[in-house]
């Protein structure tokens, strides 16, 4: 079973150097802005979300996770067309949940990471749409087909990305 339930003492908590903490989210935001104009399918990926999930789960600290999500989400909002805060709220929730989950479960297996990423993608989308439609009154439609496919795509890319980012982990 890839997901193992362990006590807080048994789970390793990781930290990251400052260049990685700052540089990786910035690089993710840059790629998210630059690449989709060249590869249109890239827009279905949400690299900032994947980075949020990774950092939050590795640090296993809900406060750190929610602030990481808020910072990355707000930065993503600033580059977008909609009001600032929609991504911020969605990623704050995901960061909090991911770090809370990371504190309870040790998710190191590729299959578990795929499922967790898919789940968080859907949670992120649900919060995003709720805020966008309920608060900002944007007329956005949700497509289950696109949502699931994009979630799976993010899951697969996430597994690869997490594998790369694992190299930057530092044990506390």
């Amino acid at each position: 079973m890839p997901i193992t339930y362990t006590s807080g003492e048994q789970i390793e908590v990781y930290r990251f150097s400052i260049p990685v903490t700052v540089g990786v989210p910035l690089l993710a935001l840059f790629l998210q802005s630059f690449v989709p104009r060249r590869i249109s399918y890239f827009s279905y990926l949400d690299l900032p979300l994947l980075v949020t999930i990774f950092f939050s789960m590795a640090r296993r600290n809900p406060i750190s996770g929610l602030f990481t999500g808020a910072a990355i989400g707000l930065a993503q909002d600033m580059l977008g067309a909609y009001p600032i805060g929609i991504y911020g709220i969605a990623k704050t929730v995901v960061g909090y949940l991911a770090s809370s989950l990371g504190a309870k479960l040790d998710v190191e297996n590729a299959g578990a990471r795929l499922l967790v990423t898919l789940g968080f993608y859907l949670v992120h989308a649900a919060v995003y749409f709720t805020v966008a439609r309920g608060m900002v009154n944007l007329t956005l439609d949700w497509s289950w087909k696109v949502g699931i496919l994009a979630g799976l795509a993010n899951g697969f890319v996430g597994v690869g990305l997490y594998f790369v980012l694992d190299k930057f982990k530092q044990r506390t």
């Binding site: 840059f30 249109s40 600033m78 977008g80 067309a81 805060g85 704050t92 966008a132």
Partner: protein, 454 residues
């Protein structure tokens, strides 16, 4: 209380952070209803990201241009030949279309219609995007420093792309037509049915608000209707791909955008539109022979001939013709052929600026030989003037043609159009007697679409 907060510390902080963001959203939503100002924080974020994107785009384009322009030139000659042949075809097509356009203008004038023209555009390069499938927007490398403002239309040669949403000093954010929050006034070309074009969650484009009892078929062309006050009427939007039943009593018309929205590299921002009433270009028509004549190479003016004409003093119609012939043989041939027949000449004289020039030339020619024709053309001169107003392309040709024909005609034409530099080109030319230019002075029309560098 403290123990409760301490126990649920994480949750409390989460609620606090979320509350702050919700508050920020509420402020933005309220303010955006009053005035759409770009927030400083956005300017900083965009200013931090876009220089890198711009740099990468330049490097990418530079290396691609180096490859395409200097190394990979296979098939360029054949392509060049094909393009030339295509241009020939298009010129002939242009003749036919110009007649239709002239007729349309006459009808519009009768109804006092106001038309919108794209007067000025600014080319821009796409450097980035919002990077999400939930919002379809892109960044271009032109901003307020280049005259870009919010709500300007963004187009390509193929069709419309979107509108400028936010403007920064050197970049702008463009909301594309396949974004779910965009709305473009559109109509079907054949049936003239109007609807609203919107994006879907899948990034597709749908024409909405067309009643379900209307006949719409796949392949129908969709144009901008101008109803949104952003896109001028008649710009290509796309073609109908699929028609299905939509919400309530409306059709759901899936449209394939004319511009490839996923592979945009360069776009045009419409920075200036002009609205004016249609002006008919007399009853004249441009003939294919005229267009072909103008495209043939011309021989520079020979001063000797002009001097001869000046010393002759009489400046007969024949000498005028020969000067013209030496100046631009092909065009002169056309003129001679027309001179042989007064009707033809008057017919030509109605075709815009060229007509004005030619008609004046005939006036300049003294009496007998074709005196009847002259008097007839004098009467046509005013209509030639109006043609200058109406036909901008012809007005440009008139300078060209009069430059070749030269003499007093030129100076009069130039005076009328206010271009003194061209008159100075022919200082040695004799002042040919002209009929009193009561109606000969063409009031220069303010520049319109010819300002468009494209």
């Amino acid at each position: 209380m403290e123990s409760v907060l301490g126990r649920y510390r994480n949750l409390t902080i989460l609620v606090g952070v979320l509350f702050l963001q919700v508050l920020g959203l509420a402020v933005q939503v309220k303010r955006s209803a009053d005035a759409e100002n770009t927030r400083l924080i956005r300017i900083w974020a965009v200013g931090a990201i876009t220089p890198f994107e711009r740099g990468l785009v330049r490097v990418q384009n530079g290396s691609r241009n180096l490859w395409r322009n200097y190394f990979f030139l296979r098939g360029v000659r054949a392509e060049n030949r094909e393009l030339k042949a295509q241009i020939e075809q298009m010129h002939l097509e242009q003749v036919r279309l110009s007649e239709d356009a002239a007729q349309a203008r006459r009808l519009q004038m009768l109804l006092s219609f106001k038309e919108q023209y794209i007067a000025k555009t600014v080319p821009a390069q796409v450097i980035g995007s919002s990077g999400s499938d939930l919002s379809r927007s892109m960044y271009i490398d032109k901003g307020s420093n280049d005259g870009i403002a919010p709500d300007m239309a963004v187009i390509t040669a193929a069709g419309i792309v979107g509108k400028v949403l936010r403007v920064y000093p050197s970049t702008s954010l463009v909301l594309m037509i396949n974004d779910q929050t965009s709305g473009v006034g559109a109509m079907l070309e054949k049936s003239r049915l109007q609807g609203v074009l919107q994006g879907t969650a899948n990034g597709e484009v749908v024409l909405q608000r067309v009643m379900s009892d209307e006949q719409v078929a796949p392949g129908d062309t969709v144009l901008s209707s101008g109803g949104d006050q952003i896109f001028p009427k008649g710009l290509p939007v796309g073609t109908v791909r699929k028609v299905g039943a939509g919400k309530e009593m409306f059709l759901n018309i899936l449209v394939k955008p004319a511009a490839d929205l996923s592979r945009l590299e360069e776009v045009l921002v419409v920075t200036q539109k002009q609205e004016r009433e249609a002006v008919a270009e007399g009853s004249g028509r441009v003939r294919a022979a005229d267009i072909l004549a103008q495209r043939l190479p011309s021989v520079p003016d020979k001063p000797a001939v002009d001097a001869k004409a000046a010393s002759g003093g009489s400046a007969s119609g024949a000498s005028e013709q020969s000067a013209s012939a030496s100046a631009k043989p092909q065009l002169a041939n056309t003129t001679r052929a027309e001179n042989g027949n007064g009707t033809k000449l008057s017919g030509v004289s109605l075709a815009g600026g060229t007509a004005a020039t030619r008609s004046t030339t005939t006036v300049a020619a003294p009496p007998p030989a074709n005196g009847g024709v002259s008097s007839k053309v004098v009467e046509k001169a005013p209509s030639g003037d109006s043609a200058i107003k109406g036909n901008r392309g012809a007005a440009v040709r008139s300078q060209d043609a009069s430059g070749a024909t030269g003499s007093g005609t030129t100076s009069s034409g130039r005076t009328s159009s206010g271009t003194s530099s061209n008159a100075a080109t022919f200082p040695a030319k004799p002042t040919v007697k002209r009929a009193k230019p009561a109606n000969d002075v063409a009031t220069p029309e303010p520049p319109a679409a010819e300002d468009n560098p494209h």
